[in-house]
Every structure is written in C-alpha cells, then in structure tokens.
Amino acid sequence: MIPSGLQTRNEHRVVLRAEGVWKSYDDGAIAVLKGVDFETFEGQTIALCGPSGCGKSTLLHLFGGLDAPDRGLVSVNGVEVNRHRNLLRLLRHEVGFVFQLHNLIPDLTLEENCLIPTMAAGTDRGTAQARLHQLAESTGLTHRLGQRIQKLSGGERQRTALCRALMNRPKILLADEPTGSLDEHASAAVFALLLEIVATEGVTLVMATHDRSLAARCDRLLDMHDGRIDEA
C-alpha cells in the first residue's frame, strides 16, 4: 500500500520501493517489520522516526541490500534488491551508508578512509582524488585530509563518514541516526551539511532518527509503529 499523497510526485522517478515487506528475527519470534509499504522519488529527503526497536535500521539495511526480507519486495531503481544479481554494484554505486557511529577505520587517515569505496569499486586514482577533494571542500575537511581518525572531532568524523558514503556518487544515501552520537550544536551543523550536500548532489536521503526537529526539515516524515509506516 503506497501512502496517499505521493501520487502528486509521480512526475519524478521512483528510486526506492518497498512492497509488503516483512522481517523477523529469532526464527519469527521477534517480528520487526509487518508489511511495510514505501516509495520515494529521486532527490527526496525522508525521515523515518519511531521508538528504538521499531525497525528503522532494519528497513535501511533492507534498502541497502545488507539483509533480505522474509516476505515482500524491495527495489532500488527498479531492480529488486533481494534478487539483485549484483549486490556489489548496489553497494558500490547505488547506495551509500552513514551510521550513528562513524564506523571509520581508526588506523587510517581521513583521506584513506574516504578512498576505500573507490578502491573497492576500482575507480582510477585521479578520479577518486578529484572526487575526494570536491567532497572535502563541500564538508570543510580539506585541511584535515591527512589526519588520522583519532585526531578528528565527533562532527569531523561524521562528516568524513558522509564523504565516504558519497565517494562513488550513489543515488541513495541511507543514514541511520547520523547525528545520534553528536552534541546538539554538532548535530545541527552536520544535519545542515547533510541536507545541503544531498540537495547539491541530487541524492535521495532516507534517514532514521529520533530527533523530530531534524526530521521535520526533511521533505517527508514517516513514523514507524508496530512494524508499519505512517506518513505524518
């Protein structure tokens, strides 16, 4: 079931779709998603709100192909994710992830962390460096490129994670509580940057968050309750 009101956006291309998605853990003992229907268009920013354990992260993982639904269908750019013949392509070129904890590799520098996705995708060095410098400039990290992760502040680490997620120019950015580990000031700054960059890059943002004030600044705010989505 597609939430009402979306028909007005039909002039845009659907980039992400979930139809009747069910997901449970412990052999069905814990049902997390109970028939989720969802659709979003190119360039939209969407906030998924809801209490802990309501299935926000699980849904993001399904969108990114990191997990498969028990039932239902998830598709990215028209290609069914759980039947995706090439999940690597999805992870390398279609979606980027930002997590609550930055999940950077501490022994590497900011630059090296950001170059990991391009290395995985086999992007040539010149193109990767050019992209890195573009994103570093957008996020204000140019002067920190050679720094090790341990020497960066929380906000800088999360901005680095954002750069890393966007290195291969994904069409969809999946952000799981991207500001959850930051203080109020850093959180606002990182979120503003996030919105600015996805707008500039034309990326679709699907973000799980507890912070309704941040969520309100997205194009759409979806509430998750009892394994289902309600559009606010």
């Binding site: 990191l66 992870l91 090296e112």
Partner: protein, 370 residues
C-alpha cells in the same frame, strides 16, 4: 597502497601477537634450513669421499649400505685393464672403535689412491704408506681425538697400529678417519680379496655410458653409477634427505598452525571492520585477499627472519671445533627457494579457514549492535 595499509594495520595493532607468530614461522624455517643444510652437507661430504678424483663408482648391486658392498679383486683387475679406464681405485669402508670414540671411519686404500696422493700431509711421508701392514695414516681430527702423533702406536678396534702420517682434508669424514693399506683393511675387516667400491676415472668422460653398460654385461652383480647419479639414487641418502625434509616440514606445519590461530584471532577482532568494508563495496575476493595478504606478510617476514637465524646457526655450528669439517654451510639456492615456498604455502594454508570465515561475515549482523 590503502589495501596494503589495511593488511599491515592489523599486524601493527596486535604487535605482540604478530611478533609471536612471525617468530614461530622464523624458528620453523630456521630449523628446516639447518637440518636440511647439515644433512645435505653430510651427504655432499660422503659423496666427496666417493668421487675423489673419479667420475664413476662401482659397487655391489642392491646393497642397502656401501659398508655391506663386496667388489671382488677379480673385477678390479679386469676393469683396470679396460681401455676407457684411466685408473681404478679400490676402497674398503669399515667402522672401528677406539677408546672414547665408538665410531671411527676406516678407509682401506692403495698407495696410489687420490685420497693419499692429494691430501695435505701435516706429518709423515706419503711414500711410506702401505710399506707395513700395521701402518696407518690418521686424519688430523682423528689424530686429535685419539691423542696420537707421528710414530705413536694407537689402539684401533682390536689391533694396535703404527701412525706413519697425519693428513688434513676439508672433508669431515676423512679428517676424522683412519687410512689403512687396502690389504690390512681387508684382513682387519675379514674381507680378504674384496673392496667396498671401486672409484673409476675415465680417460674420456663421454665413455661413462659405455663403461656402465660394460659393467652391467660383464658383472651382473655389480653396478656402475656416475657420482651425481649415485648421490640421487643411493637409498641411504634418500632416507636422510626425506628425514630432513620431514623434520623441517613438521616444524613448518607447527608454524602453520600458529598462523592459522593468529589469522582466526585477527578475523574475530576485526569483524566490524570487515563489515564496514563490505558496506563500502568490498567483494568476497577483496576480503579474502586482505586476509591472505596479512598471512603472507607474516609468513614472508617469518621466512626472512628464519633464514637469517638459520644461516647464523649454521655459521655458529661451523665454528664449533668438534664439528669441524662435518658441517657444510653452503646455502643452496634451491633449498632456500623450497624453504621459502613451503613457508608461504603453509602460511596461506593456515589462512584458508580464516579467509573463508571472513568471507561469510554478514555486515548486517556485525553492524546491528552499534
């Protein structure tokens, strides 16, 4: 470059564990190198005794040990007359004992034998050899451990012998041996009329095949082999070589278990990192390459360190006076290559399970608990 850094990073994070694993491989490699090189050296020395100024060895067919070989004097006489033979030297090998030394190698040779002619005589006169039946010439080290000097009478086995010369050779077996006139040795070892082998020098090396075929035709109980051929096929040498490689291989296998253990621990401790790399688009092949790369760095570092330790150990052994002449420390490139390859294969085999485990890591499970 980043990929290499990802490999090395984990080794740097767990320095002590990495060092212990590298040390395990290093000592395995050192043990293998030392055992194989010492035994190869010993084989080389024994081959050297046989091939002294000769190209072919004639001995009794199908004997397990040259000490049990009997070549009759009639064969020696006939072979000596063959036109392709420059000279044929009979040698009788025996083991005797003396006080404090249960094993002394005894060589029964003629006065014209290259071992007598070409050795450096530190005492005595070469021309005096084989003038009397109780005359012996001692290798320098034998003279040392028997406490004998020129002119002394020394008890060897069940006899008393007169030392008429002391000679120095580079070969440990010869240097620690006793040289007797052939007839005296035949009598002493109850092998009248026989020798253990005949060493043959040909007028033309190209006649080797003709010579061997002639031996086969005329003396069906004997066999003639070229020196290199003999070294390859002699069963005692084969047993020694197999033992050396087996002992070294066992050491390396233990090192391999060490690598496997380290790599399993490595994968367990970086599961989250592997999950992140997966989310960044790393393929199974790239994940496995990272684990194998880490293993290869450990193994190659261990192998290099092991070669250094092994070479030092061999050099030290060479300096031990009691082993003088017994240890040939010449490192053969083939042995080095085989040792490095075996270490590498062992290390990579040790990384098989950890790599397979890493490839099965599901990012979603590793990331679920932030």
């Amino acid at each position: 470059m980043i990929f290499l850094k990802l490999i090395v990073t984990n080794l740097r994070r767990h320095r002590v564990r990495s060092f212990i694993c590298i040390a395990g491989i290093a000592f395995s490699v050192a043990a293998m190198l030392t055992v194989v090189t010492v035994l190869q050296g010993a084989i080389g020395m024994f081959s050297g005794i046989l091939s002294s100024d000769s190209e072919i060895i004639v001995f009794e067919r199908n004997v397990s040990d040259l000490f049990f070989s009997n070549v009759p004097a009639a064969a020696l006489e006939e072979i000596s007359r063959w036109p392709m033979v420059a000279h044929a030297d009979p040698v009788l090998f025996g083991i005797v004992s003396s006080s404090d030394h249960p094993v002394v190698t005894c060589f029964g040779v003629t006065a014209g034998d290259a071992r007598i002619r070409k050795a450096g005589w530190t005492a005595g006169d070469r021309l005096a050899f084989a003038q009397h039946s109780d005359d012996v010439v001692l290798g320098e080290r034998a003279a040392e451990f028997l406490g004998a000097k020129l002119g002394d009478r020394v008890p060897i086995g069940h006899g008393i012998f007169h030392v008429i010369g002391i000679l120095k050779t580079a070969n440990g077996f010869e240097d620690g041996g006793v040289f007797m006139p052939l007839s005296s040795a035949q009598s002493f070892f109850h092998k009248e009329g026989n020798s253990s082998v005949i060493t043959i020098k040909l007028r033309n090396k190209d006649d080797a095949a003709l010579f061997k075929n002639t031996v086969k035709a005329k003396f069906p109980t004997l066999i003639g082999l070229e020196d290199a051929e003999f070294t390859r096929s002699y069963s005692q040498f084969k047993i020694l070589k197999a033992t050396a490689w087996a002992v070294g291989g066992c050491g390396l296998l233990l090192g391999g278990f060490g690598v496997a253990n380290t790599m399993i621990m490595s994968v367990f401790t970086r599961i989250r990192e592997i999950a992140i790399l997966r989310v960044c688009g790393f393929s199974n092949t790239q994940i496995a390459a990272m684990i194998f790369g880490e293993s290869a760095v450990i193994t190659l570092s261990g192998a290099m360190l092991g070669l250094l330790i092994g070479a030092s150990l061999l050099y030290t052994l060479k300096l031990v006076p009691a082993l003088h002449g017994y240890v040939d420390v010449t490192l053969q490139p083939v042995v080095l290559l085989i040792v490095i390859l075996m270490a590498l294969i062992t290390g990579l085999a040790g990384a098989l399970y950890p790599a397979a485990y890493a490839m099965r890591v599901r990012a979603v499970e590793a990331l679920r608990f932030e």
